[in-house]
């Protein structure tokens, strides 16, 4: 494997509820390779397998077949909490990424020790506090003066911004963003998206971002993939993205999938 390959997915298959009427083939042979520094946006209709692919990478469940390599390591059978050492994750639901009953600095301290053995040293140091205050100030949300506040008191947008900071506090080999702005109002979503790009650029991160907003998908990142029925059906590089409009993308989808994109959740503008 080449040195620059950060993520390699080979032939990922996953069927939920096998052998029942609820049987659902969620991943039908996903092959995908991300180079170091790639920022890939992922689009596709409902049930296309976008979130399932991210969860497979994160280890939320074991895949039926195929392999997952992260930074040259085969992590296919590694449990979720061990893979966390290499991954930063932001979820669709702002409640998921943070512990509501713990305060802001405790959440950050937990995240800064991701993938490290946790011992009997004190959970947060004065030096860390200063560092967190500085990083929170850069979010420009006023959170630096509320480090002792419970995260449950924050708004959805603030929680997503905090989760983003937590996901990147200890530099991950891969950042997984699962429609992380979908639950926010348009203005907040835009702000969080701007912060996302900035964090990815500043830290030189490799990232995989699922979005249902086609315009965002084309505007952000250096690569866009489209999924359909558990497979990657379209892979656009930076050059191809530049000349692509949302209408082109729709036409491409029809050509590649053999059907029209009928999806009320997909935002075309």
């Amino acid at each position: 494997m080449a040195e620059s390959e950060m993520l390699v997915l080979q032939g990922l298959h996953k069927t939920f509820n096998p052998g029942t009427v609820m049987r659902k083939m969620a991943l039908a042979g996903v092959d995908l390779t991300l180079s170091k520094g790639d920022f890939v946006t992922v689009i596709g209709g409902n049930g296309a397998g976008k979130s399932t692919m991210l969860n497979a990478i994160a280890g939320t469940f074991q895949v039926d077949s195929g392999t997952i390599s992260l930074g040259g390591r085969n992590v296919t059978h590694l449990p979720e909490h061990k893979r966390a050492a290499f991954l930063g994750r932001v979820f669709q639901d702002p409640m998921t990424g943070t512990a509501a009953s713990m305060n802001i600095e405790e959440n950050l301290a937990l995240a800064s020790r991701r993938g490290q053995p946790r011992g009997l040293r004190w959970g947060i140091t004065a030096r860390e506090r200063a560092e967190y205050r500085e990083k929170l100030a850069s979010l420009d949300l006023g959170l630096e003066s509320r480090m002792g506040s419970k995260v449950g008191l924050l708004s959805g947008g603030q929680r997503q911004a905090l989760t983003l900071l937590m996901a990147t506090l200890k530099k991950p080999e891969l950042l997984l963003l699962d429609e992380h702005t979908a639950a926010l109002d348009p203005k907040t979503a835009e702000k969080v998206l701007r912060l996302t790009s900035q964090l990815i650029r500043d830290n030189g991160l490799t990232a995989l971002m699922v979005t249902h907003n086609m315009k965002d998908a084309l505007a952000l990142g250096n690569r866009t993939i489209m999924m359909h029925e558990g497979k990657v059906i379209l892979d656009l590089d930076a050059e191809a993205k530049k000349h692509m409009t949302v209408e082109d993308l729709l036409a491409q989808f029809e050509k590649a999938s053999g059907r029209e994109l009928a999806n009320d959740r997909m935002l075309l503008v």
Binding site: A84, R89, T98, A99, S101, M102, G115, R118, W122, G123
Partner: protein
């Protein structure tokens, strides 16, 4: 109804409350921090008493016997933890299974050295084992050997230890496991391991408390843990209701649990003094705890009702 009679009973209520308070701190760890209702405690409380009693009657130093009871309690918690995480049994059922199994185990522990190999009750007379840590014989006296002083000291030391532990990197991780398991896993924390360790610490404290109780009352009995979970929950809830607004710091919250247990036992003394039959005590306790557990639910329904304009129908 003689008020002097009641006043005579109160020091005993305080001592009992302090001992059960340690048990209640164990319940707080599972119920509030890990978000698990762990029913192991009914068994592990008696296990603590059984281990301490059999060791003390065997000539072991009571301090050491109480510490060993703590370690055996850790093991009991581990069994529940493994039932729950490795075997996928719902937490509440895992606790019930361990509790049931412990009943036999406790009979066997207490039966060590007897012909039958099983015994329901082990007497622990303070006259015979003079170096026991606490005894109700001295509870009415204003003297240094009054068990209240030592219990206060032990309680404060334990609260200090818990405050330290849950402030460490590992302890913060445990709190995250209870607060948001998905977030904990995403931060590289094993939620299964976390639950096992939490259940161990909790049941270790419960057994420790049981060991002190056996010494205090002068015997160990397989039945002594019956309803322990309810008493623990009562202490946790009373502590929160009475001191919730006042105590925000984690150490103070644990102190509130201990104070809650003391209040519980004082109230019990009062209702007994007012003429309640001892046999009806568990019924009363269960109803009071049910009432307090219902409070948050009723409160939110009341708020929703007020928001709708306070009308009875939509």
């Amino acid at each position: 109804m003689n008020i002097a009679q009641l006043l005579n009973q109160l020091p005993g209520a305080v001592a009992q409350g302090l001992i059960w308070g340690i048990m209640a701190i164990g319940v707080y760890i599972t119920f509030r921090i890990l978000d698990i209702a762990d029913l192991t405690v009914d068994g592990s409380f008696a296990t603590g008493g059984a281990v301490a009693a059999i060791l003390i009657t065997g000539g072991v130093n009571p301090w050491l016997a109480t510490l060993i009871a703590f370690v055996v309690g850790l093991a009991a918690g581990m069994v529940t933890g493994v039932f729950h995480t490795s075997m996928g049994i719902p937490a509440i059922l895992a606790g019930i299974l361990t509790q049931l199994a412990l009943y036999s185990v406790n009979l066997r522990i207490q039966g060590i050295g007897t012909d039958l190999g099983s015994r329901a009750n082990v007497p622990l007379s303070i006259n015979k084992y003079k170096n026991m840590l606490v005894s109700l014989r001295n509870v009415g006296r204003f003297a240094l050997d009054n068990p209240i002083w030592l219990m206060l000291l032990i309680t404060l030391v334990l609260i200090g230890l818990m405050y330290w532990f849950f402030g460490t990197e590992y302890g913060c991780g445990l709190r995250a496991v209870g607060a948001n398991p998905q977030m904990a896993r995403a931060q590289g924390i094993s939620t299964g391991m976390g639950k096992i360790v939490g259940l161990m610490i909790s049941n270790g404290l419960v057994a420790f408390s049981g060991a002190l109780m056996a010494q205090y009352q002068g015997f160990s009995d397989v039945q002594m843990g019956r309803g322990a979970i309810v008493i623990g929950l009562a202490a946790v809830i009373i502590g929160e209701v009475v001191f919730g607004k006042l105590f925000r710091n984690f150490a103070l919250k644990l102190l509130a649990v201990s104070l809650g247990a003391i209040i519980y036992y004082m109230v019990i003394q009062v209702v007994l003094w007012l003429g309640l039959n001892t046999d009806d005590l568990k019924l009363l306790t269960a109803l009071v705890v049910a009432l307090f557990l219902a409070m948050p639910h009723w409160k939110s329904r009341f708020t929703a009702w007020k928001l709708k304009g306070g009308k009875l129908r939509g």
